[in-house]
Symmetry: C2
Subunit: 493 residues, 2 copies
């Protein structure tokens, strides 16, 4: 079972477990946007309780947060508060152009708060990841409590400023959940590409990979079909030592494949490559996980147009050319590293821990509706792997109970934006639940395209999305200002 192998070895991005992790962490590379303006912010540190939900552990740690107040209009200009994901907050700060671009319009202060256990916000310093005892305070509830306490502290200094939370991906989930759990601290939330329903029994476990497959199917003739055929070709060729050597050379692997188990790792790495491409299938040249051309899947698919009569070797030559679009677009890579999409940074381990506790996101493939090797979802196998790694077990239904699952209609003022190309839209809110719990679909958008800096190549759908998001922000701010000072009436009997 690939899932087990993957978890036990921890040597590589784990197909069914760490897809979200890889999606977020592989972005932590070296990024640059030619179009982005210079941004400036100040860095602060806030003393947070290590444990908000118990009183025995009364220690504190320094949570990092960044503040940009250049456009803030005293005394009641709003605060846009980014709910940090599982990574270094400066990276999210630099890559959420939407907030920087609307700050002036809104007269807003920008705050980017780092998520505990990531970046510099380590509850136990270098020991934070030393064992499951130190990891015990790495939960989304603790992170939300950090955000709420920090916002209350900001509000004590700026009581008239309404606060809006913003986040993408896991940060988008946190943004929505912050509004759900602490509506006293934020008047509304933007949850961009936030798969809040990617939990057990909420959506089909195969939906994610179906979307990846659709992206490839519509980006080039035979493209998805050839990738579907490639796994068997790899199995055939990797069954001999000479085949393994051929594969290693064909793909210019930095570490040659030596055993059959290496082929399993190799296939996972390829699978994750296709997933990553689906997430970053942006309409313009960009450096995200890697420097990539505009509409990178179309470019990838140009190497995979042949029909089914092709030999295993010819097929895999096409696949290697396709992979190199992703890993060597600039031609500067001397070899491909199959451990590249799963960094061994603290962050990756942190997300694996979160997936092994609350963030249970079932994934499966069937090879028919998707282009991957069939693999069932088994909670028990997943749980056993987590136990082997951390000595703890995930709780299958807890996130659903805690965050409401599909029954969230009593909440308000949350925008769920989703990209039609983004596989994570499988777990997103893709329809309006109420008038104030709205979904914005961006059919030709990949993973939280709306949060990125605007460019001249942006499709109309993402421009409209951003305009609508801004309109909701303005409404919430207006309403918050009208409401303050109102009092209620009495029901005297």
């Amino acid at each position: 079972m690939a899932t087990v192998t993957c978890f036990i070895t921890l040597s590589l991005a784990c197909l069914h477990v760490t897809a979200l992790k890889s999606q977020l962490f592989t972005r932590l590379g070296d990024l640059s946007y030619s179009s982005e303006p210079p941004i400036t912010y100040e860095t602060f540190y806030f003393n947070q309780k290590i444990d908000h939900f118990g009183f025995l552990e009364d220690g504190t740690f320094k949570q990092r947060y960044l503040v940009a107040d250049k456009h803030w209009q005293q005394p009641d200009g709003p605060i846009l508060f980014y709910t940090g994901n599982e990574g270094d907050i400066t990276w999210f700060c630099n890559n959420t152009g939407f907030m920087w671009e609307i700050a002036e319009d809104l007269g807003a202060m920008l705050v980017f708060a780092e998520h505990r256990y990531y970046g510099e916000s380590l509850p136990f310093g270098q020991d934070s990841y030393s064992d499951s005892k130190h990891l015990n305070y790495l939960t989304s509830e603790q992170a939300l409590a950090d955000f709420a306490v920090l916002i209350q502290s900001l509000k004590s200094k700026m009581p008239e400023s309404p606060v809006i939370s913003v986040g993408g991906s896991y940060g988008g989930m946190l943004s929505a959940w912050l509004r759900m759990k602490y509506p006293n601290v934020v008047v509304g939330a933007l949850a961009a590409s936030a798969p809040i329903w990617q939990f057990p029994r909420m959506v089909g476990c195969g939906d994610f990979y179906k979307i990846v497959t659709q992206d490839f199917a519509k980006s080039g003739q035979n493209c998805a079909a050839n990738i579907r055929s490639s796994w068997k070709a790899i199995n055939n060729i990797s069954s001999t030592a000479s085949g393994l050597q051929w594969l290693s050379e064909e793909f210019s692997l930095c570490s040659p494949l030596k055993a059959k188990t290496d082929a399993v790792v190799f296939k996972s790495w390829l699978q994750e490559t296709w997933v990553n491409l689906a997430m970053v299938d942006y309409p313009y040249e960009a450096s995200f996980l890697q420097p990539l051309p505009a509409w990178p899947i179309q470019v990838v698919c140009k190497h995979l147009t042949f029909d089914s009569k092709v030999s295993d070797y010819d097929l895999l030559h096409g696949v290697s050319q396709a992979a190199k679009v992703y890993y060597n677009y600039t031609g500067s890579s001397s070899c491909l590293n199959t451990s590249q999409t799963a960094t061994s940074s603290l962050g990756a381990l942190g997300w694996t821990y979160q997936a092994c506790t609350e963030m249970v996101m079932p994934m499966c493939t069937d090879g028919v509706q998707d282009m991957f090797e069939p693999e069932d979802w088994s909670f028990q196998a997943f749980s056993d792997e987590c136990y082997g790694m951390f000595g703890i077990r995930p709780r299958e239904d807890w996130a659903g109970t805690l965050y409401g699952g599909k029954d969230i209609s009593s909440h308000s003022n949350i925008i769920f934006s989703n990209g039609g190309l983004d596989p994570w839209s499988s777990g997103g809110v893709t329809y309006n639940i109420t008038d104030s719990l709205v979904s914005i679909m961006i059919p030709d958008g990949a993973h939280h395209l709306d949060l990125r800096y605007s460019t001249s190549l942006d499709p109309p759908s993402v421009r409209s999305a951003r305009a609508l998001e801004l309109k909701y922000f303005q409404e919430w701010i207006e309403k918050a200002k009208t409401r303050s000072g109102q009092t209620g009436s009495e029901n005297q009997l």
Copy 2:
């Protein structure tokens, strides 16, 4: 400082810290209602995680809950879910007549869930209170998570039954908070006499004792004034050994006062007696803390009608007669026990722990607007006492951040009922916040009178309150049934 003394000795009900505790725990005595019908229920136990918010502690304990399904109409009759307070759940089950009386009208199932660390629901059995390590999971958040998980389990068997939470006092706070934090599990909540605003900086710390004083002031000529004078009289008389002996005999104390510090304890006991009377100032004879006559404060005040010219001895004779209305109405007590209103049960210790962690409820007196000896509120002194007792410190602002303080307007479907005679109405929601966050005032009601069995002596205000509560329940149930099956629309750009 009385607060400090009180906390260090733990020998007696603590004036400023444990008023809520005493209010709830002293009710755990022997109760009987002549008017109450026989009730039957089944007892069940549910495996709950000891720690919902961390994964290192993966143990479980058995949470007790009681079920009465005699009137339940399959398959979609509602469930009325009592969110247990800090005590034995069978007691709350037996004393929430309102639920039993409306079950048939609604075709409802009744569920009474015990709060962790009370009654039989002890996370670590007999060790649960052994130290602050074992007490670490005694928080309102953990209790709410218990309720949410239990309800989700019930819903998995009865998916069509809308659930409404009901509670009084601390149980009422939990009922409201359950709807706020887990609106996916309950469609609405009745929070009877729930002082959700009795936290720092939300209401005046003296409001509670002002209401106690008003109850006495309007129940008899000179009544509050004479109690106000009594403290100095006690101070005067207790300054000598013979005075202490006189006091002990006059009040028929089981344990004679021997030192000046005993007089401090004695005064706290008296103060708590007046507080308890204010809470149970019901319009009919009832056995609550003690067997009492109808409108007991009026009866008490008959002994305190003299004007200010009276001697210390005569004044305190009146006070002793008044106290005996409370402690010896039936004439069966051979002596009065000054440790009586603070039981040394686990429950009392549990509430003290909760007050020393999250449930920081500032109380103060000034002797002018109230009839008590002046005493300021000092968070620091309170914190130091807690640290001395448990090795932990309270967090002054946490409850406000967690539960929203006065900014709860985005929630829905909560009824806050309050009695005008009830001192806890000082921290209650006494005005409508929105159309679905409503307050019901019962001017001539004491502590959650509306939750008690109906009697022929009920004032019209409590009858109207119960009728209105039932009407809201019916509306919520109706809406929940209409809503199921509806789907949303898409915002395609």
